[in-house]
Symmetry: C2
Subunit: 187 residues, 2 copies
Amino acid sequence: MKQLYFITGNKGKLLEAQTKLGVLGIKIVQRNMGYPEIQADTLEEVAEFGVKHLAEKINDAFILEDAGLFIENLGGFPGVYSAYVYKTIGIDGVLKLLSGVDDRRAVFRSVYAYKEPGEPPLFFTGECRGCISREKKGSHGFGFDPIFIPDGENRTFGEMTPEEKNKFSHRGKALEKLYRFLEENLG
Amino acid sequence: MKQLYFITGNKGKLLEAQTKLGVLGIKIVQRNMGYPEIQADTLEEVAEFGVKHLAEKINDAFILEDAGLFIENLGGFPGVYSAYVYKTIGIDGVLKLLSGVDDRRAVFRSVYAYKEPGEPPLFFTGECRGCISREKKGSHGFGFDPIFIPDGENRTFGEMTPEEKNKFSHRGKALEKLYRFLEENLG
């Protein structure tokens, strides 16, 4: 396989994947087509449903990615609905929900789904544990980056350059697993 | 048509529909099968996707219903994700998000989808405008009922009997529209 479709509208994710998987000689081609994201408890369920839907339309190998922020004290909220929650109550809403709360543990999770025609989909997950800061800091990244401090750091993702963030990144870890799989199986 | 499937796991909704539509001589039969609920901005989109999915499996007339609470000051949050938000941050979370907020306007919305084999689905919507109370009151109903005060009242849904609530209810209004449609078209 020399080509792999990436079903995404996110140029940042695309670039990350192209940089990482390009090393293997794989050309990552963006296909910006929507797919239904279901309401579910886990990213894997959302990804699996999306893959099933897309596999009826695409007869080539493809990947997709979904991610979310899971806050322990809020029962995993906003989880798979992170994009929606960001769009509605936003960072300020999440900080308000955690005002007066000392347990600020949170996990960023990412899942890459990989699908080849005629094969069941494979999932590669990555996570980054950390905590929610008391106030927003930094302007790098996107989404909840300005309030997420990864374990072992005292800066938020919003205060880090993309290179610094990638060392910790949930998506980077998931992508690394996909990379290793492709390296072993397509060599 | 003498029989109509209601795709729901909710006995309360089933009873409401049976009571109302039974008058027309229609037997409402529960089918407790799940269907995918997509992430979307409107209840109609969620219902339409569910109907499409179910229509591939059910070759009889059926209905389904979806509802949500849309809070103005929170950009419509929790909206179509009301069940998930109730399960995670709950009533206390919503009250916390609105602490210090004077604009407490909110709308409960409901949509009934009606599908006959070979026909496009029809949607019947109902809404109930009101506001979010400062604290939870009452133990009737379910979900966000204890913090929702309908316009023209000073009690929450949680403080009303089912009969009192039904006078205002978003779902009752949607069901009324479905009732009228069935009355005119199946007479």
